[in-house]
Symmetry: C2
């Protein structure tokens, strides 16, 4: 099958770029002497996860217990749920996994950790946990100065084994310049290593010091003392990574193939991909439409979305015709993949494979 | 099963409110003397579609050929694809449906219509089409003044039968006041009826004059000459419908049940529902966070989303604790349902049914 045979909208992955992205991050992690544990939330796909392991990744990160179950069932044996998992229901599901899989989960409070500890203690088992440290994103996690105290309380809970600390510098996505991005990445590594030292000074061993985020990864993993990096988006990249200066257009593997269904005026063309395909996620670091139209001059953007309509603001000098196919680079590849049942793997215009989104819908 | 037994995040539908919303719109359409053809893109669920038919709907509207296939396979025999369908591939799939189902599709250009006409003409068959008219949303559709001309060109194409005209006043979602919303609704009906008259004056019969959109429906369907109304969102409603003054909180059937996983500071609580559950769609008519927290005073909002995190800006005087369950009213119910495999139907705290999102992922 050729790419022209795909019905639209279709989400297409350039296999050459995918291979290069997977190999490139693996090589960068090796050079920095850190373990690579890619975040599978980006693709939720067993086959792509296997490609990452084959390239040298130690294991995978996931966001949800349901995602861990899917990858465990597919034979992945080293998983980290990079999320403050809370609740006895989740604890019981984790208990069902620990015999088969080396698994660790995030925690960021003694209260939350207790809900898991009780399940594991009752069963006479132990669950590995990593403490989330907030290095400036201000989403979840404990302040670096509080890490030693919370680590002590978590270590005191029977049923849990604190193996390390982790962070995610999501504020990197707001970095207005590459210099600022690099600074945030260095801070991410430095603050986390300092937190790890403080935890150790309090008598709690710290084995894993794990940083996250694709754009900050090159900077954070270079900090001495960091042991692991967990980028997710790097396999696909997207318009936001380009906007951040973290990669070029030629590094973006995932695009949306759409058809122009209406050209109501010379300055507007409407395609059959809307928010249910491209998502409403904003462009980072600055808002700027809902996708870059790669066809033509590359100067046109998807300006407005409805659920199934993408309205392109046609750049001066360009024109589109009804029935024309266009390639769109989305703002955020991770949420685009999550909206699909499958992605099409393409090499030199030929559709070579279909990637199933195996963990799609595993939201719990 | 009780609602407290559901793992989070879970999307919950209050069955009493759902019944009332379905009955209410059916009654309003009857009173206005128009046919009701609900847009199934909101729920993509066969069971809810059947409830709408049982309440008196004539048939369903859908957005995608793939959605039409799902509902046709489930026995629905009167469908309208309210979208300018373009392309021979789609035409061939429609050809496979016309023997089993009364089906019509939208068109808004002779160029687009031609791609379908060729398929049907070759097969010696005819496809019913409705011409989309732009009444001010400026997305797709022809200007009212151009309707007669385009209708003439489409009628001239063998393989197609123009049955009517339709519109969608999506700009109603930007209405800053209920008065402005009512005005947009009346204009929607009036401009479409005028376009229908112009088409008739040019010698083309017009059977169907169909208006869309939940918030404008009460106003548009009251205009004499309108024959059909196609609201979608009304089954669930959401924070945007409340924001528009189109309904009250008590009319909202769909909510997201989430668990607080972290309380990093007194003014921030983080739940396990992010953009992969709530979507990034903005609140209408004015941006204002990503969901209303109904638990507590109702004054707290989801302020910030990551893929799996929703950060609540905690209202003064409120507090949340780790492990607490909260109900969130999302900005846009249609995209929330689309992110799920299933919705849970709940009555008085008891989980009575599971609604499968049958047409989920049928994006083509």
């Amino acid at each position: 099958m050729q790419i022209d045979d795909l019905e639209t909208p279709a989400v297409v992955v350039d296999l050459g770029i995918l291979d290069r992205n997977i190999a490139g991050m693996a090589q960068a992690a090796r050079r920095s002497g850190v373990a690579l544990r890619p975040h599978a939330k980006t693709h939720k796909c067993v086959e792509i996860g296997r490609m990452q392991l084959a390239a040298g990744a130690r294991g995978l990160s996931v966001a949800k217990t349901g995602e861990a179950e899917v990858f465990a069932a597919a034979g992945f044996d080293d998983l980290f749920i990079a999320y403050p998992v809370v609740g006895e229901d989740k604890g019981r599901r984790l208990l069902a996994l620990v015999d088969r899989v080396r698994i660790a989960v995030g925690v960021d409070s003694a209260e939350g950790a207790l809900t898991l500890a009780q399940v594991f203690q009752s069963a006479g088992r132990s669950l590995d946990v990593l403490l989330k440290v907030d290095v400036g994103f201000h989403r979840v996690g404990v302040a670096p100065a509080a890490a030693a105290g919370v680590a002590g309380r978590i270590t005191a809970l029977p049923g849990l084994h604190l193996r390390g600390v982790f962070t995610h510098a999501g504020h990197g996505y707001g970095a207005e310049t590459p210099d600022r991005l690099a600074q945030i990445g260095r801070e991410e590594g430095t603050l986390l290593v300092e937190a790890a030292e403080a935890v150790r000074a309090a008598g709690v061993p710290v084995e894993v010091v794990s940083v996250g985020s694709t754009p900050t990864a090159p900077h954070a993993m270079a900090v001495p003392g960091v042991t692991e990096v967990r980028p997710g988006n790097y396999v696909f990249r997207d318009a936001s990574q380009v906007g951040l200066g973290a990669c070029g257009l030629e590094d973006c593997a995932l695009t949306v193939l759409a058809t122009v269904v209406s050209v109501p005026s010379p300055d507007r063309a409407v395609v059959d991909a809307g928010s249910k395909t491209l998502s409403s996620d904003p462009l980072r670091p600055r808002p700027g439409g809902h996708g870059l139209v790669l066809s033509g001059s590359g100067a046109s953007r998807v300006e407005r979305l409805s659920e199934e309509h993408g309205a392109i603001a046609v750049a001066p000098g360009e024109s589109f015709r009804v029935g024309q196919r266009v390639r769109i680079l989305p703002n955020h590849a991770c949420v685009v993949a999550n909206l699909q049942d499958r992605l099409w793997g393409v090499r030199e215009g030929r559709v070579e494979t279909e990637f199933r989104i195996d963990a799609r819908g595993r939201v719990q």
